[in-house]
């Protein structure tokens, strides 16, 4: 017994001595959590922010976004359009993959084709592309079917993969869901990025370590990164308070206040680039679940105006959102190219009498009834926002029957069908961020242009708003390479949909992250979280 005690004392002393003379390299482990796991290690498996941002730590893109979402060189040192339908990318020399093999133009061509190939979900970034080819050892050239000024913006999300590695491991294509085979790249990774994949246990933990041979000078000081999915928000908050994690990516709104009071925790809040809005059915001859037969009140601009100007977004911000929203009158947020600040003014709110009079002038002196669809697990407080809108519209005599349901049922109901015939809704909520291009054209094309089966425009214009003048402007801006002309088109088109009360833009929701006080990180407006900016003090 005595001997044991003395022995362990000696061991402790020895351990202390070793610690004090140990070299100054400190382990800086960064542990963080999110509600869900990264669904795949394959950078093209899904076009969703979380997967793209996580995998961009391992896979560098040609061009990356800096702290202000501006483009900056990554694997491409130079890029541009040599003529309207030709893009070139000059590849950075002396870059190595994590396995030590050099990056070549062949890897770039391979990766881009893989991202556009079967099983990949990134195909919509390649709609304009005709051919991708290597010209010289350090240059890749892309010819497009029509002038595409946004190609570089779109490709900032696409990471570059080692061709030799993919070929060796039978992962030349992304996992194809329609075939029953698993894919090596789903669980393994080989890029040139600032971090290397050390361990992947899907649903449990994913461990990254810094890439010692990264081409760029690291800003971070991490030696190890451990990511864990923690589905239950209360557990995430508790783990952060206990110090079991250093950062949580999604903070439930209800916990924000209590976290702010915590001494060792800081809460980071900022506007997200996604705009949440309400849409009207302006297409059907008759609204669904309505008492008005034979005509559609929403086709009348006066009715849309009365409703738009009766929705008090500031009240929604105060009550439902607990201050965590940024009201807007536009379909795009600041930070997106094409956001027009001087048009982002909501018209004055109407008093209920004024709105009622406006409805009466339009032929609805007793208001009308309409069904409304709303998700209850997609956007922050989505269902509560819709409930608030129902109450606001009840005051002007518009009776709204709300149906709120889970997103998997919701989107299947409201979105347009494969032949672009309208979905089953007359009044609905949607959120949108032009996450590929960070350019307003994507919003025009997807949400505001007239749905058209041949041109494939207006895919997400669920209410079928249609203005031929706007369609023309949107088509023209898609291919316009002169910036001044393009900006003028954007402004004109924005004015058209604002004046038409085409939609009711509500707000940008806040991105809320929380971290321990000793963590330095950068919060980006597109809700992406690059580890290369993280420092542990």
């Amino acid at each position: 017994m005595h001997f044991n005690l003395r022995h362990s004392l000696a061991m402790t002393a020895l351990a202390c001595a070793t610690l004090s003379v140990a070299p100054a390299v400190e382990a800086k482990t960064f542990k963080w959590a999110n509600s869900g796991d990264v669904s795949s290690m394959d950078p093209y498996a899904r076009q969703e922010t979380f997967l793209l941002t996580f995998n961009s730590n391992i896979y560098d893109p040609l061009i990356r976004r800096d702290k202000d979402l501006k483009l900056e060189p990554a694997l491409a040192t130079k890029w541009g359009q040599s003529d309207p339908t030709t893009w070139f990318f000059d590849i950075r020399p002396n870059v190595k993959f994590h396995d030590g093999t050099p990056l070549t133009a062949d890897d770039i061509v391979f990766s881009l084709n893989r991202a556009n190939g079967p099983g990949s979900n990134m195909g919509s970034n390649f709609v304009s592309v005709k051919e991708i080819k290597k010209v010289g050892d350090n240059r890749v050239e892309v010819t497009t079917k029509y002038p595409d000024p946004l190609l570089a913006d779109k490709w900032a999300a696409i990471g570059m993969m080692s061709k030799a590695w993919a070929e060796k491991n039978n992962a030349v294509n992304s996992a194809d869901m329609t075939k029953n085979e698993e894919n090596f790249a789903t669980r393994n990774a080989m890029g040139t990025g600032p971090f290397m994949l050390k361990e992947r246990k899907a649903g449990e933990r994913t461990v990254l370590v810094p890439n010692p041979n990264w081409w760029d000078k690291p800003v971070h000081n991490l030696t190890e990164v451990i990511f864990t999915p923690v589905a239950n928000p209360a557990t995430r908050v508790a783990a952060l308070k206990a110090g079991d994690i250093d950062m949580t990516y999604e903070v439930p709104p209800a916990d924000t206040e209590s976290l702010k009071k915590e001494a060792n925790v800081k809460v980071l809040e900022g506007p997200e680039t996604r705009v949440v809005f309400l849409g009207f059915d302006q297409e059907r001859p008759e609204l669904l679940e309505s008492n008005v037969k034979g005509k559609n009140p929403f086709k009348d601009k006066k009715v849309r105006e009365a409703i738009h100007r009766s929705v008090d977004v500031d009240a929604i911000k105060r009550t439902v959102m607990r201050g965590q929203s940024f009201p807007t009158n536009l379909m795009v947020a600041p930070g997106i190219n094409g956001y027009t600040k001087d048009l982002d003014k909501r018209p004055a709110l109407l008093k209920p009498e004024e709105a009622k009079k406006m409805l009466a002038d339009a032929g609805y002196p007793n208001g009308f009834e309409v069904g409304m669809d709303c998700p209850n697990d997609r956007y922050v407080n989505d269902e509560k926002i819709c409930q608030a809108v129902v109450a606001m519209l009840a005051r002007i005599g518009v009776k709204v029957n709300l149906r709120a349901q889970t997103r998997n049922l919701y989107f299947a109901k409201i979105l347009r069908k494969a032949d672009l015939s309208p979905g089953e809704t007359s009044f609905y909520m949607l959120g949108w961020s032009p996450a590929q291009t960070y350019d307003v054209h994507n919003v025009f094309e997807a949400l505001i242009q007239t749905p058209n089966k041949t041109t494939k425009k207006g895919q997400f214009n669920a209410g079928g708003y249609s203005n031929p003048a706007l369609d023309k402007l949107a088509d023209a801006m898609e291919q316009e390479t002169d910036k001044a002309k393009r900006d003028a088109m954007i402004k004109d088109a924005t004015k058209l949909y604002v004046d038409d009360f085409a939609y009711i833009p509500l707000h940008q929701q806040a991105v809320v992250w929380a971290a321990r006080k000793n963590i330095d990180l950068v919060q980006l407006a597109d809700n992406s979280f690059p580890l290369r900016f993280v420092n542990v003090k």
Partner: protein, 329 residues
């Protein structure tokens, strides 16, 4: 005997098929997985194409038949969420769930039974009343709340135990275990208590009422008259006779522990099959949900089959052949 076993196995298969069919008819109500599978900008045409290729437009019975045909060959398909093989996903998460359920069962057994014995022997003592009152918590508080409370006390305030996860695990073949590291064992404590608390209460109350009954029996009085020690009477005679129902209940509850680990696993971010199931529901990940439900169905069927066979071995009255009609357990 053989006929009985065969009949039972056939019935079990019928039960499994019924579970699968019900599951598949329910899947249409969990929504469309496509919108979660593809990017925001995927056109409606491409979405419809994928839906068609995955067979999501087929009627439920056809989807079910395809699933069973593949499952019979050991192929459960790829997860819609992670594009990994479902069979492997479940197999990888199984050890976490089994170890957690095992520890919860041990906790319930080795704390619940002594508590039951004690409260049964001294029903009027104040400590018994206290234990009884405390055990009410196990029944009345939802698992979710108990888990969060334990985390707040032992992880956030006291910093004694980790707030979530499996801690450190050791890989032995395909099995990952918590039992070989200190951190792994620490991580097991809170979730096991959370999961086992309800069963503990159940066992305690069961043992207590059995003990109360047995202690009034004649053979206990005779044992006392023979001058045996209290210890011999309480444990040698009384407890032994209460154990038959306890063992039955424990066996049946083990299935429930595995099946209902869902909530505990979610609260503690425990990477087991329950958590996998919850994630899959949110995503409408039909292949995973189907495989999980079949697995749980299989588990219950196996447990019931075992119990039936045990009864058959224990109770000679059942060998008359009229078992199916005797029923009623």
């Amino acid at each position: 005997m053989l006929a009985f076993i065969l009949r039972r196995i056939l019935q079990s298969i019928a039960v499994l098929l019924a579970v699968g069919l019900v599951a598949f008819s329910l899947f249409r109500y969990v929504g469309d997985p496509i919108n979660a599978m593809v990017g925001q900008d995927t056109t409606m045409e491409q979405r419809e194409e994928l839906r068609q290729k995955l067979g999501l437009n087929d009627p439920a019975p056809i989807q079910f038949a395809k699933f069973i045909a593949n499952a019979a060959r050991g192929n459960f398909g790829l997860s819609y969420r992670t594009s990994e093989p479902v069979g492997r996903m479940i197999l990888e998460r199984m050890p976490a769930t089994l170890e957690l359920s095992f520890c919860a069962a041990l906790f319930a057994l080795f704390v619940g039974v002594p508590m039951g014995v004690y409260t049964g022997l001294y029903p009027r003592h104040w400590t018994s009343r206290l234990l009884q009152a405390i055990s009410l918590i196990g029944i009345s508080l939802p698992t979710f709340l108990i888990g969060i409370l334990l985390i707040l006390i032992f992880a956030v305030s006291l910093h004694w135990l980790p707030s979530f996860g499996r801690g450190q695990t050791v890989q032995i073949g395909w099995w990952t275990t918590n039992f070989l590291t200190v951190k792994g064992l620490q991580a097991l404590i809170l979730p096991s208590i959370t999961l086992g608390l309800f069963q503990l209460t159940l066992l305690m109350r069961l043992v207590r009422s059995e003990m109360l009954e047995v202690m009034r029996a004649d053979y206990i009085k005779f044992a006392r008259a023979r001058g045996l020690t209290n210890r011999a009477i309480n444990f040698g005679h009384a407890l032994k006779n209460t154990l038959v129902p306890v063992i039955t209940v424990t066996g049946l509850q083990l299935g429930a522990l595995i099946a209902f680990a869902i909530v505990t696993e979610t609260v503690f971010a425990w990477p087991g099959v329950g958590q996998l199931f919850i994630q899959s529901v949110q995503f409408s990940d039909i292949p995973v949900m189907a495989a999980y439900l079949l697995l749980i169905g299989l588990l219950f069927v196996l447990i019931n089959l075992t119990v039936d066979l045990l009864y058959f071995a224990v109770d000679p009255r059942l060998r008359g052949g009229g078992l199916a009609r005797a029923g009623g357990h």
